[in-house]
């Protein structure tokens, strides 16, 4: 819940920063700003499709991202456009809508056309973009040839004459999910069986259980747009929590034992003597009282 909340704030903030940047240029002239959309259809292995529209606004000499812009997604069937849904662009300028493939696409469909549109407003021109794709699916499997050598087998199948058949000569990229971004492990072209093999290095560390998140993608394919699959494999080196603790040093919170002992001994000796002296003072006082009384 909290991360969602934070996320919303980021979107808003990004939106406003960008908006304000835009406003500034608005002051200088009231001409319309040109917008541009691009559309990527990401076919995932769980029968879901991400429609990703990247929105850019032309500002001075470059196109800039804009957050918080509503993009409407449509599907075109038999020349009839039907609205699927709407999404707002995030701070990277991307509006993403996830759909259930089965809800919109019949199994035997040859090609599907998606449309992303932005309606425009007083200051930004409208824009739209369509993408026609065929259904495809990518499967990822880990092969352990021996303890040292590991390979990832990627199988791409796509619609051909109404059925799913292996797709040859498609470039597949293999990524490893890391904290901030995906690391490209390698890429390979599919053979006639739709299979591509990518060598996987064995020296990557995974999480506590040694799990690695692998993502394979066919990107910007002429027929399929983007086909994506992800899988967790136990191929990484285990990160042990214990090892994370830095060795204690002078900079750690608690003092080294030798230092503590030295201090206690030193301070104890000196203050112990002070106490003896103060006690002596009290004795002097007591003796004085006895004398006078």
């Amino acid at each position: 819940m909290r991360s969602k909340f934070i996320y919303r704030y980021i979107v808003l903030l990004g939106c406003l920063v960008l908006s304000l940047t835009f406003l500034k240029s608005q002051d200088e002239g009231v001409e319309m700003m040109r917008s541009r959309l691009s559309l990527t259809v990401i076919q995932k292995d769980d029968n879901k499709i991400d429609l990703q529209a990247d929105f850019r606004v032309r500002k001075e000499r470059s196109y800039e991202r804009m957050a918080g812009v509503p993009v409407i997604f449509l599907i075109s069937r038999d020349s009839i456009n039907e609205e699927i849904g709407e999404a707002l662009t995030n701070e990277d300028g991307a509006a993403i809508l996830e759909i259930e493939a089965a809800d919109w696409i019949a199994v035997d469909t040859q090609t599907i056309t998606f449309i992303a549109t932005y309606e425009g407003n007083d200051s930004i021109s409208p824009s739209d973009r369509d993408a026609t794709v065929m259904r495809a699916n990518l499967a990822l499997e880990g092969l352990e040839l021996d303890s040292a050598q590991k390979q990832v087998q990627l199988t791409l199948i796509g619609t051909e004459d109404g059925t799913m058949k292996p797709v040859a000569s498609a470039e597949v990229n293999l990524y490893l999910k890391r904290l901030f971004s995906n690391y490209k492990v390698g890429s390979a072209e599919t053979d006639d069986d739709g299979i591509a093999l990518v060598d996987f290095p064995s020296d990557f560390s995974g999480d506590r259980d040694g799990n690695l998140d692998l993502i394979a993608m066919v990107e910007d394919h002429d027929l399929f747009s983007t086909v994506r699959t992800a899988r967790k494999l136990e191929w990484g080196q285990k990160i042990e929590e214990g090892e994370q603790e830095l060795p204690p040093g002078l900079w750690s919170t608690d003092a080294p034992m030798w230092m503590l002992i030295t201090f206690i001994v030193l301070m104890g000796t000196v203050w112990g003597h002070y106490i003896v002296i103060v006690l002596n003072l009290f004795k002097i006082k007591k003796e004085g009282k006895i004398l006078t009384s």
Partner: protein
């Protein structure tokens, strides 16, 4: 308020929320960064904002609230570090042209005034014959941090994920850490920090380093609040030339936003080194030597304001 009605579509209530927060939200940077276009400087009581639909809304200035980008964890939590992580930065000196976007992005992120930097870019010249180069300097988050050693109250601390952070609610402002840091990374709040009231009213977290507090020390924190969301620090993403790579050393991968590379390979292939290795501070920031430069170093002086240019006056005389 017209546009409110327009927005009443399918997703009504959610959208309303959006606008409401939208009105109540303003990038704090806008007050310092000049991004805010107060409609005609004379009417300061209203501010123009862009609605999510891209339409201009005019809002009374007092409705505008500054909100920090992230929410920080508690002060106790912030001492522990993000489990399993070991943050590392690589700075490619061959790419820096003193564009200073890292500095302004950092200032925006931490709501710092314009003349207070947590990142600085130095013009270095290693020897008589050597060619000058620009040297961006963040906190090095040393593994043997001289600053943490000397703190009398455990206000600055080293975390398991490699970060050196400061709890400015505990800091007594003795400045010993500043004297101990060999890299002059730390800055002090000599007077009351210039920050909007809304920012000052936020709950402090050592991970966000916001708000600043008078009489305490602060510095570059590697934005662990962003890392918790899987996002890069703003200096990294703001750099137009991809100078900064940031990542987790345990994962052995660093990224500058567009390229993602293996940390060990990058350091090996491009002869990465740590600045002043001989001090034994073991920094978590690596530098790639300034070879295969994208720009001649003089380009770094091109778009500087006179104020900033003045800062390099002495070193330019020597070059």
């Amino acid at each position: 308020m017209e546009n409110r009605k327009q927005t009443e579509s399918r997703d009504q209530s959610a959208r309303r929320d959006f606008i409401k927060i939208g009105l109540g939200t303003l990038a704090a940077a806008s007050c310092g960064g000049g991004l805010c276009s107060c409609k005609g400087k004379q009417e300061k009581d209203t501010i123009e904002l862009l609605s999510p639909e891209g339409e201009v809304i005019e809002v009374p200035a007092h409705h505008v609230k500054h909100v920090h980008k992230t929410v920080g964890v508690s002060r106790e939590e912030a001492r522990k570090g993000i489990p399993g992580r070991k943050f590392v930065m690589v700075i490619d000196l061959g790419r820096c042209k003193n564009a200073r976007n890292c500095i302004t992005a950092c200032q925006k992120m931490h709501h710092l005034p314009e003349d207070k930097e947590w990142i600085s870019v130095l013009l270095m010249k290693d020897s008589e014959e050597a060619s000058p180069y620009w040297f961006p300097k963040t906190c090095f988050h040393c593994d043997n941090p001289p600053c943490v050693k000397v703190c009398p109250v455990d206000a600055t601390f080293k975390r398991s994920d490699g970060l050196v952070l400061i709890d400015t609610e505990r800091c007594i402002g003795c400045k010993f850490c500043m004297a101990a840091c060999p890299y002059s990374t730390r800055v002090f709040n000599w007077d009351e920090p210039e920050q909007p009231e809304e920012i000052q009213a936020l709950d402090y977290s050592p991970e966000t380093s916001v708000p600043s507090k008078i009489g305490t020390v602060e510095k570059c924190d590697f934005c662990p609040d962003m890392a918790r969301m899987g996002k890069l620090p703003d200096c990294v993403t703001a750099c137009p030339n991809g100078v900064f790579y940031f990542g987790d050393e345990n994962e052995d991968v660093v990224t500058n936003g567009s390229e993602t590379v293996r940390f060990s390979e990058l350091i090996r292939d491009k002869s990465g080194y740590r600045y002043m290795e001989d001090l034994g501070t073991e920094p978590r920031v690596y530098y790639l030597p300034p070879r295969d430069r994208l720009f001649p170093w003089e380009r770094g002086l091109d778009d500087l304001s006179d104020d900033i240019k003045d800062r390099f006056k002495d070193v330019l005389e020597d070059i």
